[in-house]
Amino acid sequence: MARILEKTELAPDIKEMVVDAPLIARKAEPGQFVIVVVDDKGERIPLTIADFDREKGTITIVFLEIGKTTMKLGRLNAGEEIAHLTGPLGNPSEIPEDETIVFVGGGVGTAAVYPIARKAKKSNEIISIIGARTKDALIWEDRMRSVSDELIVTTDDGSYGRKGVVTEPLKELLEEKKVDRVVAIGPAIMMKFVALTTKPYGVKTIASLNPIMVDGSGMCGACRVQVGGVTKFACVDGPEFDAHEVDFDLLMKRLSTYREEEELAKKLFVEGG
C-alpha cells in the first residue's frame, strides 16, 4: 500500500502524484522507475520516478492516461492508496562531468528527464528540448527551465514555442555547437528519430526504453529489447541504452502486442464509468 499525498492535473490526461514511499525514496536515483499495481485486479505497470524527496519519504510519478491502468490510477485521489508500489528498479542514469548535454523530453517523457537533468546540471552544461502535441499537453516547463542553461520548447501544432518536432532544434544544435551527449526520453518513435538525427554527427546518444514490463526485476523477459544485436532485459540491464544500437522497430512491434486487448479493456472501462 502506498498513500497518495498530492495529486495535480498537469493536463486533462496527464496527472502528477506525490506518493508516500519512504523505502523507495531513500534509494531512488535519477533514471529509475517503480512498478505500480493500482488495485487487486490490476496489472503491473512501470512508471518513472520523476522526483523524490528522501527526507519526506516521497516519490513523484507523472503519467499519461493512455489505457485502463493509467486511467484507473488517475481516478485515485489524494488520501487514497495505490495497492502496490515496488522499486526503485532499473539502473540509475550515468551522469558525466564537464560535458554539453542535450536532454530531449517528449510528452510525459519530460518528467522522466527532469531528475536526470537536475543531477547533471551540477557538473555539465545542459540544453533541454521538450516537446508536446499542443500547449495544454506541455508539462514541467518551469522545472525544466530551472535545471537547464537553455530550454527549447516545441509543439506539434505550433500553439506554443516552436512549431514542429523535437528533432528539428536538435539538428540545429548539433550543427551549431559541440554536443557531447544526447539523452532522449519519450515515445519510442521519438527516440528512434532522435537516434537517427544524432547518428551522422557521431554524438553519444542515450535512450530510456519503455517496453512492456511485468515484474520489473528480470524474471519474465517481457521487456526484452535488442541492443547491438544482443538481447537485453530493459528492467535490469537498462532502461537506458546506447540509442544508436537499439532496434526501435522491434521495440515498437513488441509494444503493440496487446493492442486489441488494450482497446477492449479501455472501452469496457470507459463505458463502465
Binding site: V38, E43, T69, T86, D215, L250
Partner: protein
C-alpha cells in the same frame, strides 16, 4: 490420517496440509525412472479434493520470544518453511518478497489446475498466524540491500529461488509472440490473465503454439496454452521422450490432453514480420552420453524444416537472479552456475547470511527447497544462540 500424514513439527507447508509430501526431488525420480512412479504434484489434486479449508489453522506451541530478529528474503517454499520454523523457535521473522503476492513459484509458476491458489494462501495465512510479518513489494538488492538488513536483523536467509529465464539465443527470439515460460505463467497464474478483462493483465494465445523444452515447466506451459484455447500445442524437445526431465505423470497428462510431442528437434531460427509466424528447426539424433548421463543430441545436417507457429513459449530452464549476489559484499557465488555457495546447513561465506532452495542448487524441487529451509532454520537458531 490424511495424505502424507499430519504431524506436528514437520515442515510447515507439509504439517498442515500434508500436501507437500507429494513432491519428490527430481534426482530420485531419475533413479527410478519407470518402475516406481513418483507421486509428485499430480496427486495433489486428489488430496486437494478432500482437503477442507475450514479445518482451521492450528497454531503449534511457540517458544518464548528470544528477542532475535531474522529477515527471510523470498516467500517460496524455502522462505515460508524457514520463517515458520524460526517463528516457532521464538524468533521474530520478517519475510521480504519482491512480488505483490507471497508464495514464490507456487503462486506465480505452478498453474491453478495443479495447485489451487487457495492452498498456498492458506499456507501463507498459517505462517502469518505464527507471527511472521510478510512485506511484499520489497526487492532486496534494490529497495534494501542485504547489508541494510544486517543492520536491523540478527540474521538473513536468502530464499530467492531461480527465477531468471534462460533463452535460446537464436535469431528472431525477440519477435512479438515469443514468451519465456516464466512470462507466460506469471501472466496466467500471478496476474490471472485467464480472467481478462475482469483482471487487467492481457495474454495472447496462439492457434499453433510451440513450447520449447521437456521439463515440468514446459508441460505446465503447454497445458495452460491448451486450456486458454490454443488449437494445437506442440512440445518441441531436442532429445527423445526417454530423456525428458519432466515427470512421467506430467508427460502422460499432457499427452492425454492432446499435446503433440515433437522430439529430437531443435529450433534454430524464428521467422516473422510483425510477430512470430514460423520456426525453423533442425532434426537431432542421439550421440554419446554427456555429463548429465543422457545421450547428447547431435544435429542431423541438412534436416532443416519449418514449423508454422504463431506463439512460442521457451521453457529451457531458469537460473537464480544475480541481483542479490551482485549487491552483497562478501557473498560467494558460483559465477558459472549462477548459484549462491552454501553448505548443507545453508551457511554462506558471509557472517549471518544463510541461503537455501533453488538459489543454492539451481532449479530443483519444492521438497528440496523446504528441506533446505528446515536445515537452515536449525543453523540460524544455533547461530542466534551463539552456539
Amino acid at each position: 490420517m490424511r495424505a502424507g500424514g499430519v504431524t506436528e513439527g514437520g515442515t510447515t507447508l507439509g504439517v498442515k496440509t500434508g500436501a507437500w509430501r507429494n513432491f519428490r526431488p527430481v534426482r530420485d525420480e531419475m533413479k527410478c525412472k519407470r518402475g516406481c512412479e513418483p507421486v509428485a504434484i499430480g496427486r495433489l489434486e486428489r488430496f486437494v479434493a478432500d482437503w477442507e479449508l475450514e479445518n482451521g489453522l492450528r497454531i503449534p506451541e511457540k517458544a518464548e520470544p528470544t528477542g532475535k530478529k531474522v529477515a527471510v528474503v523470498g516467500s517460496g517454499p524455502a522462505g515460508l518453511t524457514i520463517a515458520a520454523e524460526l517463528a516457532k523457535k521464538g524468533h521474530e521473522v520478517t519475510i521480504l518478497e519482491t512480488l505483490h503476492k507471497p508464495g514464490g513459484v507456487l503462486v506465480y509458476g505452478i498453474p491453478e489446475f495443479r495447485l489451487p491458489k487457495r492452498i498456498v494462501e492458506a499456507e501463507v495465512e498459517y505462517v502469518k498466524k505464527l507471527g511472521v510479518n510478510i512485506m511484499t513489494d520489497v526487492i532486496v538488492g534494490k529497495t534494501l540491500t542485504v547489508d541494510d538488513l544486517l543492520e536491523e536483523y540478527d540474521a538473513v536467509f536468502l530464499g530467492t529461488g531461480a527465477g531468471l529465464p534462460l533463452l535460446l539465443g537464436i535469431p528472431g527470439e525477440n519477435l512479438a509472440g515469443i514468451y519465456s515460460a516464466n512470462e507466460f505463467l506469471i501472466r496466467i497464474n500471478l496476474m490471472k490473465a485467464y480472467a481478462f478483462p475482469e483482471y487487467d493483465t492481457p495474454i495472447k494465445v496462439g492457434k499453433k503454439v510451440a513450447v520449447i523444452g521437456g521439463g515440468n515447466v514446459a508441460m505446465d506451459a503447454a497445458r495452460c496454452a491448451l486450456r486458454l484455447g490454443a488449437e494445437e500445442v506442440s512440445i518441441v524437445y531436442r532429445r527423445s521422450e526417454e530423456e525428458m526431465p519432466a515427470r512421467r505423470e506430467e508427460i502422460e497428462r499432457a499427452r492425454e490432453e492432446g499435446i503433440r510431442f515433437v522430439t529430437l528437434t531443435q529450433p534454430v531460427r524464428f521467422i516473422g514480420e510483425e510477430k512470430v509466424e514460423g520456426m525453423e528447426c533442425i532434426r537431432m539424433e542421439l550421440g554419446e552420453p554427456d555429463e548429465s548421463g543422457r545421450r547428447r543430441p547431435v544435429p542431423v545436417e541438412g534436416s532443416n524444416f519449418t514449423m508454422e507457429v504463431d506463439q512460442v513459449i521457451i521453457a529451457i530452464g531458469q537460473r537464480p537472479n544475480p541481483l542479490v549476489m551482485r549487491t552483497t559484499e562478501g557473498l560467494d557465488y558460483d559465477r558459472r552456475r549462477g548459484i549462491v555457495i552454501a553448505d548443507s546447513m545453508g551457511r554462506t561465506s558471509k557472517e549471518g547470511v544463510f541461503a537455501g532452495g533453488d538459489v543454492t542448487t539451481g532449479a530443483a524441487t519444492v521438497i528440496a527447497a523446504m528441506g533446505a529451509g528446515k536445515r537452515a532454520a536449525e543453523a540460524i537458531d544455533k547461530f542466534l544462540r551463539g552456539e
